[in-house]
Point group: C2
């Protein structure tokens, strides 16, 4: 599959449709008890979103020759972990956000206890998908590698640790290195896991894995800086959350530290480096290039 | 290993020491950043507790001939999931408890955001232990079976679903069947997973698994009823949480429904049935018998 054969928007739409079909299939039905809990899980997971992490799984796996049917399960598992983190990050005790993707956050649409539990239940579901999904036709050792990858990316030395640092850094002046470290944990680890999951399913060799790791490390930071820029420049109706929410909370961000022009420049440089890292993967890796452009040029 | 060879208290102490050593080893050090998060994780996991689930892993595994060194990882993984659920259940939005095991609950000792995140990080850690622990010398297929077992026990159709039903049933009159269903999900599923994890490590056959499932289904309900009786009869200093907390919240419990004498009688009958289910496992299964007595006769 080559993105050059078709329109990027069509391709991403098709991949998003695939992962959403898998998510719909693995999530318990809304009328299965306990209903409130399952409704909340489906509300949080199936209510839209950019699906960047699944797109990275598909782009990587297909660039390296994996069958697309084997990519649905890791894409869904990673998106479940992302959705879990969003629900908890939005809670009153954390970022206290009322809006997400233009809709009430899960604890607003349901209640706080239901939101906490709905997200809690997404974690075992994600690991179960990797351990048991029938379409994920890979060796047991590969399933275990995927589980370790996801667990490392989401634990206290990954995404959850990043959210902890983010909260404790409010009102503090982080330097660039501390900020990059926070970004890396909070967002970068799961983005990296998305790319490496696609690579594991494709049975990529160690050299390719290393290139992909450098690709996503650069791209991940560019993506996060883009997010911060959109938080300043975007209007609420476009990005679906309150504009300037980070600045209101006095959160450390790249534009806050260096100004918006320097942030845009940095984002472009990182994209350039990311693309350079995968040059040797040849024309087959076109999906990885197009997704990179998409992630850094997006307007929402 | 036969509990008849030694004193039950010595045996349980030795098993508790084993699982606590493994938990200490797999938890990040308190001085590893993010420090607050890791301190909270260690506070919540290493701050005592009956360790009933690890005891069930050891009792089952050793009854069926598994090497004890292979039981530490599943015992620790299951206890991490139990600890995660306690931290979230104690939150203000849930049971709003200030005391647990005679100490401030995690959100009281730290803060709410840290407690939420500390528990969130225990889930990936638990799955990682099952996927990667070097002392767990079993086939990849067995690791995956353990992961599925834990994920099923803790998801929306298990422990987390049980907590959801428990919260939504406050102030409602459940009948015995609804109450048993809630108990089964909230507590029974993870107890069953503990026994079956020991059985998986010991490579037990399907007939043995079926016996063990009936054993723990009966024992689990007896254990939960015992918990409810202690909530009424126990003093705060003994059980480490406010006495009568369930009744204050108008929670559905067995003693509330049938009276305390009927509850005690039911608990004894369930223990008897549990022991009957494993009669055919012979003298080697003595640890399972002693643990059963311990779980139902305990005073805290």
């Amino acid at each position: 599959m080559n993105l050059a054969d078709t329109n990027l928007a069509d391709t991403t739409r098709a991949w998003i449709a695939r992962v959403e079909a898998k998510l719909d299939a693995v999530l318990p039905a809304a009328d299965q008890p306990p209903r409130g809990l399952h409704e909340a899980m489906r509300y949080a997971v199936l209510g839209g979103g950019k699906r960047i992490r699944p797109l990275l799984v598909y782009a990587t796996g297909l660039s390296l020759g994996a069958p697309v049917t084997r990519l649905d399960a890791p894409a869904a598992a990673i998106e479940l972990m992302h959705a879990f983190s969003l629900v908890h990050d939005d809670l009153p005790a954390m970022d206290d956000d009322d809006l997400r993707r233009g809709r009430p956050t899960t604890h607003k649409a349901f209640d706080e206890a239901t939101a906490i539990l709905a997200a809690d239940a997404m974690q075992p579901l994600a690991f179960n998908v990797l351990a048991a999904d029938a379409d994920l036709q890979v060796a047991d050792a590969t399933r275990l590698a995927l589980i370790r990858l996801l667990a490392d990316a989401c634990g206290s030395l990954g995404m959850t640790g990043g959210q902890s640092i983010d909260l404790s850094s409010e009102g503090q002046q982080l330097n660039a290195q501390q900020l990059e470290h926070m970004y890396k944990l909070k967002t970068g680890c799961l983005l990296e896991a998305s790319v490496l999951a696609g690579a594991h399913v494709a049975a990529a060799d160690a050299a390719t894995m290393a290139k992909l790791r450098r690709y996503i490390d650069n791209l991940g930071l560019a993506f996060q800086i883009r997010d911060d820029i959109l938080d300043i420049e975007g209007a609420t109706e476009v990005i679906g959350k309150q504009q300037g929410a980070d600045i209101q909370r006095d959160k450390a961000t790249w534009p806050a530290l260096f100004g918006i022009d320097a942030a845009k420049q940095k984002s472009r440089e990182l994209l350039h480096t990311a693309l350079h890292e995968i040059e040797s993967l040849g024309p087959a890796a076109e999906p990885l290039r197009e997704i990179a452009d998409y992630m850094v040029s997006r307007r929402l």
